[in-house]
Subunit: 129 residues, 10 copies
């Protein structure tokens, strides 16, 4: 695998597709450019998903995130776009993407978007005491 | 855009209106005046909303918050009023506004108000383990 | 308004009775006397309520809390009593009172009591991701 | 009241049996002996309960916890046993007991057990924003 | 009992099978090898389960976790595999396994998998205020 | 010993006067009255001292702190006064008293005063890495 | 005393001038205007001083801090200016002023300035273990 | 080695006596009895020492701490006594012992005592930025 | 002033050169490229300095930090280089630069370098209790 | 460079030998075996050093730490040994090594050792307020 920024999101087969389980991935090193000012923006992204047939490959995910380094991107749009790319690549049963952006103008912005596969129902929630 | 305090809340089109997603904005730099004593009050505001057609513009939001600097405002009323202004400007599917006011008389006050668009139902809540 | 301890809980009209919203008040400076030993007890109280027609006035609340300074009071009874007084004064749609008492005999005690107005239903809970 | 370890759990009448409310008690000073090795074990216990007619007396609870100091006790069994004793003494509407044991063999163990009075239903849960 | 790494998971009879209760076990000292690079990986595992007839023995659990020290293991697969082994050994009413892996490539990965015994329903969830 | 507030500070003989060692005592439950407004003030006090022939008795210290409950006291003066009383009672080699007062008028005040016995030199400070 | 912003810093006589002791005051509610943009700036100030003949009065200090609300002020200059005003008013043996300014342009700035009375030497520093 | 409480403190030869270095040991599981009331006391002990020819053996230290479980002990005296026993057993170049006792009567007590070998000087303190 | 990355560090005259005082600046948004792999590195920088005749301008500092975004830079060298540039631009009495780099290969690296103007002595350090 | 465990500590030339500066490296993923029981031990190591002509290479350091995975090692001896190896490889002006070992037998052990090059004096310590 190359080590250049890339919009390609490689995957590998889910080793346990018989079960609904959750994968969390926290990526504290996202940076893009503000489309208005051209100045750098910084964010931490959090992916939480229930894989179906495919899981996203960790190193490819890193290169994908890197690919925004030179691009202009609004907070709301880029969070929805990354969710769209991840869903297209992995077709998960469920995925939630959270983008926590660094303070700008004294205001902290976080954007959270979700995708649920049509027809998929989450398993019974068991809350242990 | 000017950089003066203003009650005008500029907006921009929601880039992903096809999806219910959440925008959080934390504004730690709110100050107004106590209507009883005339002395400054301070608060941190937190906006959480599901946009419909419009999103609130970050810089305009900052100028809006600034516009209370010389105004007298009770904790409960000003929180409800700001929620009303934000709802009028953005017509969101859902919005929650939290105002955490600094201690006065040894007592800490926080006010939380919500608006839900008539007929809008929140999407299925998926709680991942 | 006087500045003496008082069991009177002054109120003011809820500025937004058309909406169910929440007021949190944290009061870290409560002290009374232990009815068994006569020694001082200390607690932090937390009020959370949905006002109906009336809100409790902050300074009056402070004087009310002060009024227990010379009184003997058991943890469970005094928490229920204060809830009763606050409910009688403000007739809220809902109120929860939490009393966190300082350690005694190596044990930390917290008491939580609630009042719900007959017939009042909480609004649809919207849990944003 | 004596100040010796005792399995007797004294109670007092619940001052507000007309209401479902919660009492939390945190007891950080529990020690017993490991039945396998005879060496001391340490734990913090947390009681949360909705009293019915009786509340557990704080000092008696302390002496009761002390009574395990010389006894061998497995984590799972002793947590269930203490819950049983507390339920027998106070006949609560609901009680949850949590035992957080200190690390042994590099592993941290916590045991949580609950008792619900037959027929008792918890009151409507009101989650304030 | 030997003190060598072992895939055998010894158990002991649940002392209180008449009740649904929860056992939490936190194991901060897991290490295996990355199947791609051969380099060590590190994780903290958290087990939460409602035992049926059997509980997992603490020392055997430690030796079991140790048994992965020389093995190659992917994050997703090893979490599901350990859950499978624990379920096979203890046949619990419910079990959740969480594996929090140390940062790799600037990304933090956590995997959470659950098993619910067919037909078992969790007891009424009582959420105390 | 009585259990009434008292300005008497009972002592006991230092069991190890041959050595300079330190006793820290933290007292989070101090309350007095503001001499200007008559309203309650609250503080946490911290005593750190090197005893000479006498140590202050813990229960007497508690009763002494209680004795300020009905008295008017300015922050600076009461901290210096308590230090003076403790020094008079125990004649320590060194004593530092810190009074951390709760917020008033949006300002947090802490007062720290020290007493060193004439001629006493602190032992060589050993700072371990 | 009036309750209007004022550059006058009222004082009161140090009740214990015979001793070098320390007064800490933390003021989290400072706001002024940026001289370049006219927009509000926010800071927390911390005063630490050894009083000589005079102490600064708490309420006057609050009004003094308020007096910057409508003024333009650079971070470095305003911190030095406030130190100068406090020194002029109280003539302390020693004073340190710390201004912690809210993030601007993604950068957090803190300014710390000190004044030592000519000829004053700090007392022997006793560091207790 | 037996696994019974014992006042014997076994040692092993310092593997690097040519160098002044520091060993920290934190023991959170100390309990003894209050000589006045007979009730259990609890503390966390911290040992910091520069070994000379001997180091204290970890398991023996645990059994030594256990040996106080049935003994009456005042805070000040027991801290000095344990330091004395450790010094007698290991003859260290320097040792500091800190006993942090659980809250009693609303007051938290910590005792810190040190021993320095006659003639031993700590090495040059290097404080890196 | 332009808003493009720039190695030029603009300054402004120190408003209070008559006094040694400290300016702290924390810059959490530094990113450069690893010279070995070409992949992005991330760091937080902290500047602490005593200005002489000149202070570094905040916005210019931001643009300067931005200028490393496309450059390859080793941790140790880039920290020393930035210190050199800042010293060349401002000729401070003293400056300390700390670069805290994100984890790489499971290892966290922080580099700290200082510059002291020849002949400058820090003022008497006053440590208040 | 290979990616196998290795006792070889590769170095690179210090890019700024003209200055005394500090490099901190935190390595949370150390594991070896207990020489008594053969069971795994875990620790976090912290290196702080002032390089002279050579710096330790990050990836080589990782492989070096990995090389202890199959070796028996006592806490005190292995910390001193690693310091010795690092000093032999880099000949630093000063180095401090801290090994924080996971709890064993309820006791937490940390070992700290230092090396100072003969004749090297640390630069003047400047403590900024
Ligand atoms: Ca945020
Ligand atoms: Ca605030
Ligand atoms: Ca609050
Ligand atoms: Ca409290
Ligand atoms: Ca509690
Ligand atoms: Ca636990
Ligand atoms: Ca870990
Ligand atoms: Ca994680
Ligand atoms: Ca306080
Ligand atoms: Ca303070
Ligand atoms: Ca800062
Ligand atoms: Ca303890
Ligand atoms: Ca303490
Ligand atoms: Ca960072
Ligand atoms: Ca670090
Ligand atoms: Ca430790």
């Amino acid at each position: 695998m190359s080590t250049k920024p890339s919009k390609t999101l490689e995957t590998f087969p889910n080793p346990n597709p018989e079960r609904d389980y959750t994968i969390h991935m926290e990526i504290p090193e996202f940076t893009c450019l503000c489309p208005k000012t051209g100045q750098p923006d910084f964010a931490t992204f959090l992916i939480e998903y229930v894989p179906d047939e495919l899981c996203v490959e960790l190193k490819a995910l890193k290169l994908y995130m890197w690919s925004f380094r030179e691009e202009g991107a609004f907070h709301e749009a880029v969070t929805n776009r990354i969710l769209g790319d991840l869903v297209a690549a992995t077709q998960p049963r469920f995925m939630r993407l959270t983008g926590k952006f660094n303070v700008r103008g004294g205001i902290y912005t976080t954007v959270v978007a979700e995708h649920r596969k049509p027809g998929w129902q989450p398993p019974l929630k068991v809350e242990l005491p």
